[in-house]
Symmetry: C2
Subunit: 604 residues, 2 copies
């Protein structure tokens, strides 16, 4: 049996009791699903993860995916996961029935992938990127493209990738130079290089369908000249057989973590024989890609939240078993004749574990809610509701991507510390989580990019309406929590932080209004740190408030200890984490401008 790497109770509690997932399930699109059906699906995914994913987790780190003889070699479980994951519906499930899918809510898929990420974060990307690539084709491609490519992608027979990054461009997509030359038959010949392509090639599928950003020859500069193409590794002949399409794997990237998830360098059209097909309209490629980007960013936050949770579970298990030292007595002395205590009884160890718990479960709540907004947005017809969920989703997405990635690193570092010297040793799993999680704040737009998105775009959307809507949601929770006598103080504290956030935004927006936009966004990453801690504070108050309610009514399905631990962890979060926002506000209001380039040689 696999060790505990996540907590199904907390996952379900968050979905149903805290975030009212049944509201989503009641939508017509999801008529085939009720709580029981979703739970059965999640339990099946948990079982699959226990049996196939978790047992190979350390192995995949020890035998990294690697490039050899012109090809990428991955762990055999990648084949198992593509096949069995395909059969379980883990690629197809969220698609509409008419597109060959099961019309499952995005939230349920997020929960399913969360379980897999916690079991083995090197694997779900193979499925998830295939799903994402198929989604681009389904959403924006012609019927012909859809029919040709998506059926075998949805079953996992073929894999899919997203090819954005190029060596000279990095995060700056406006600078990509891969070129598509129009051909007489309506197809294009592609030429260019893509780097950092996750899941870009492996021996366990017959074909890999690349979704490639490129410029049609002569297209305008910048992001306005970027189009999207389907470029298969192997072209499909009229008789269904496959023919090499001049997509060459030039090498791979060896990394400090997530070593089982291959990262490749691809060359398109070195022999001038790489054929691609335009998806949708010319020059709208980046727009299409970004319409899918919320999903991809939620997925990164989800992965980070899951790794963070798995590390918490591992260090908690260790702390419950490892005796060492004695509790400090109130006279400051120790009695060496006493038996050693379990380390979970040392306040400092307990603080580290509770910090991990508060960040892990807070992150999961954030991911679940963001996914839920995605479903609500896509199932409502009411224009006001549509705008509301659209704005909330836009606002929360960069936070959902960033908070679990950034604070997840801190959380796992505490997990390593719980194990002391063993935390640094390869035979214990903590060091692997520590290395693996480091990628999440880089994937799909770094923390810097997410922070620019949050402060530079999302906060200002529709005159600040997204922030106002979020403020309303937070006020609602404050009101609800205030009904419980012993949550009142915490509700008031969150109210103060919300008010403070308005002051901070008021202060910053002066600079935007004065035309000092670079100054406005110069501390965007600090704003992200600040604002995300408040958002997670809100989610914790909500979790505690629902737990309190269940304790009062006595009709909750979980144990008293379960609910009490949620209230306790909220307090931990408020004391040790939410508190930190006061200083972050000071930083954001500080008059010193120190990071905008000028003539000074500040690095001398």
């Amino acid at each position: 049996m696999a060790k505990q790497y996540m907590d199904m109770d907390t996952l379900k509690y968050l979905l149903y009791d805290v975030h009212d997932f049944e509201k989503v399930l009641s939508k017509e699109r999801f008529a085939d699903y009720d709580r029981e059906a979703v739970d059965m699906f999640l339990d099946a995914v948990k079982d699959f993860s226990d049996k196939e994913l978790y047992p190979t987790f350390m192995e995949m780190d020890e035998t990294p995916a690697h490039f050899k003889d012109g090809q990428i070699h991955t762990h055999p479980v990648v084949g198992t996961v593509m096949k069995q994951g395909g059969e379980l519906g883990l690629i197809a499930a969220a698609f509409s029935a008419e597109d060959g899918g099961l019309q499952m809510p995005h939230t349920a898929m997020t929960a399913a992938y969360y379980i897999m990420d916690a079991a083995n974060n090197h694997l779900p990307g193979y499925l998830g990127l295939t799903q994402g690539a198929a989604e681009l084709i389904v959403e924006f491609g012609s019927d012909a493209l859809k029919e040709k490519y998506t059926p075998k992608m949805l079953t996992g027979e073929w894999a899919g990738t997203m090819c954005l990054t190029e060596p000279q461009a990095g995060s700056s997509l406006s600078d990509i130079v891969t070129t598509a030359y129009p051909q007489e038959d309506g197809s294009y010949k592609l030429k260019g290089q893509k780097i950092f392509i996750s899941g870009g090639d492996h021996q366990h599928v017959d074909n890999v369908i690349h979704l490639v950003l490129a410029r049609i020859e002569g297209a305008p500069a910048g992001t306005k000249g970027i189009s999207l193409f389907v470029v298969p590794k192997n072209r499909i002949q009229d008789d269904g057989s496959l023919l090499e399409n001049d997509v060459v794997t030039a090498g791979d990237y060896q990394k400090m973590g997530q070593k089982g998830y291959c990262t490749t360098h691809l060359m398109f059209g070195e022999q001038d024989d790489c054929q691609g097909w335009l998806v949708g309209e010319p020059n709208l490629g980046l727009k299409y890609m970004f319409l899918m980007m919320n999903g991809a960013r939620i997925a990164v936050g989800r992965g980070a939240a899951a790794v963070c949770m798995a590390a918490y579970q591992a260090s908690l298990a260790y702390a419950k078993e490892r005796p060492q030292g004695r509790r400090v007595r109130n006279d400051g002395k120790k009695d060496v004749h006493e038996e050693p205590t379990l380390i979970i009884n040392h306040p400092d160890v307990r603080r580290m574990l509770l910090l991990q718990k508060s960040i892990s479960e807070g992150s999961l709540s954030l991911v679940a809610l963001t996914a839920l907004y995605h479903d609500l947005l896509h199932t409502t017809e009411d224009p006001e509701e549509k705008e509301k969920y659209h704005l909330l989703l836009e606002l929360l997405t960069p936070i959902c991507k960033t908070y679990p990635s950034e604070d997840g690193m801190r959380s796992i570092s505490n997990g390593v510390q719980v194990l002391g010297g063993y935390g640094f040793c390869s035979e214990y799993i903590l060091q692997q989580y520590y290395r693996d999680i480091r990628i999440f704040s880089i994937y799909e737009g770094t923390t810097g990019i997410q922070s620019l998105d949050l402060l530079g775009r999302k906060v200002a959307m529709k005159g600040g309406k997204a922030v106002m809507l979020l403020g309303n949601e937070i006020m609602q929770t404050i009101k609800e929590a205030s009904a419980h006598e012993d949550l009142k103080g915490y509700a008031a504290k969150l109210g103060d932080r919300l008010k403070n956030a308005q002051e901070v935004l008021g202060h910053l927006s002066q600079f935007a209004m004065k035309g000092e936009f670079e100054r406005y966004i110069s501390d965007a990453s600090i704003f992200m740190e600040y604002f995300s801690k408040i958002v997670v504070g809100w989610l914790w108050l909500q979790m505690a408030s629902r737990a309190k309610q269940a304790l009062l009514t006595g009709d909750g399905q979980y144990s008293t200890e379960f609910y009490e631990s949620k209230v306790h962890t909220m307090k931990v979060y408020f004391k040790y984490e939410l508190s930190r926002t006061a200083s972050l506000a000071d930083i954001l209001m500080d008059a010193d401008v120190l990071t905008i380039p000028d003539e000074e040689k500040v690095f001398a």
Copy 2:
């Protein structure tokens, strides 16, 4: 030529201009040294590090030290370093002339090892532990032991180790069970196991001299029954030949970082033939070890500060060469026809680099000052001065060990982020620094242990006199800085933080006085985070103030840009780091008690 991995100018500026190292050099003990002599020594160490240490840094990570056929195999450079390091005096230099040393100041040795650590942190430990082991023999051992073991240790022909940790005991040294059985000839037979022994065995020396903590049969329980023994890997026969001493290497620990520095598991006396010799008096072993512990802890802080600096230099070099994206214009738009800018010109990247600079150089200043206090303590005869430097050294040591280790991790994580996806890739060096630095907060007493030491012992020493003395030093700097008009605001800010620290300590000490000692120390790690940030704020104000002075008088030996960058980085530290202490004070004053074990199942 080696890449830039540290900054000699800043090192020398801190030693001579900021911390007045010449005051130490003027002491009689160091009569053979002046600035020129020390600089020549440091330059020679830099040259040695450029040629031997830095070039093997990534190699040592790729080919870890490992256990095979009953023995540890390390990179060949370990042999070079023992030999050439011995010749350079890197083991012997700090010893008194009468003990075969060069009577060099501890501060100069610290600077020398800092350079080596920055070049390749896997190597200096082999020399440093040999020095430490020899120091224990010289300080506390008989003349016979001294004569027998130290000459070959000081030349690097033999290595030395410290054997403290045992499998069941970990940080809790009172629980060690390795036993020493008295023999008729006055020696002892040792029996027991030691784990996590750094540099415990390798093929490049003829002998390894272990300094082992063990209990003489029948000794009292706890720390009061621990004695110190010299236990060589090979016994020295009367004719000088070596005979195996039943010290067996049972295995090693593979780790996520510092892979070239072997970590071993040793078994003493499995064949009942392991002979050891008592150092000093019975049952005083832990006391002897702890008299050496300040030095060892300064060494860990030094290593962390150096790795942090090397990572800063690497990410700075990258940011100065890598073009990507465009500066945000003040209308919030970008011009895609502009050439991409270097990433150092993006405020967020610049902020991350300046944060690294502020933590790296602040850490170095802290390490240099702590080493200096060590020298001042050991060279003064004046009882009042002796007490002063003793107390300041005791207070700063846990901070010196912890701040560079903890904030060094944050700093390097920012360095990884500067490189984006490349930061995660093995071909770039940042990921290695990220992995390597993770050990420093665990070595020689974890952050939790250091924090207990700081708040539980050091703060309370002699009725709080250490804190008072430090407060005087800080006030002195505040006064000095206030003389410069544009430093006044920063001086005032530091003054506020100092006052706040007194309030925090007043608040906490209530609990100690009420007999709630466990509560008093329960947030010791937060206190460490809080107090160390204030201490480093002091060191930055001092650095800026001396720079300002040099700019005014114009007679400094460094460039205007050099001094201006110190003032600028102080401002960065004050804005982005010192600010955070306000929230940390809130946490320390918070009324919620959440981490002291009670009956609640808070982890349910």
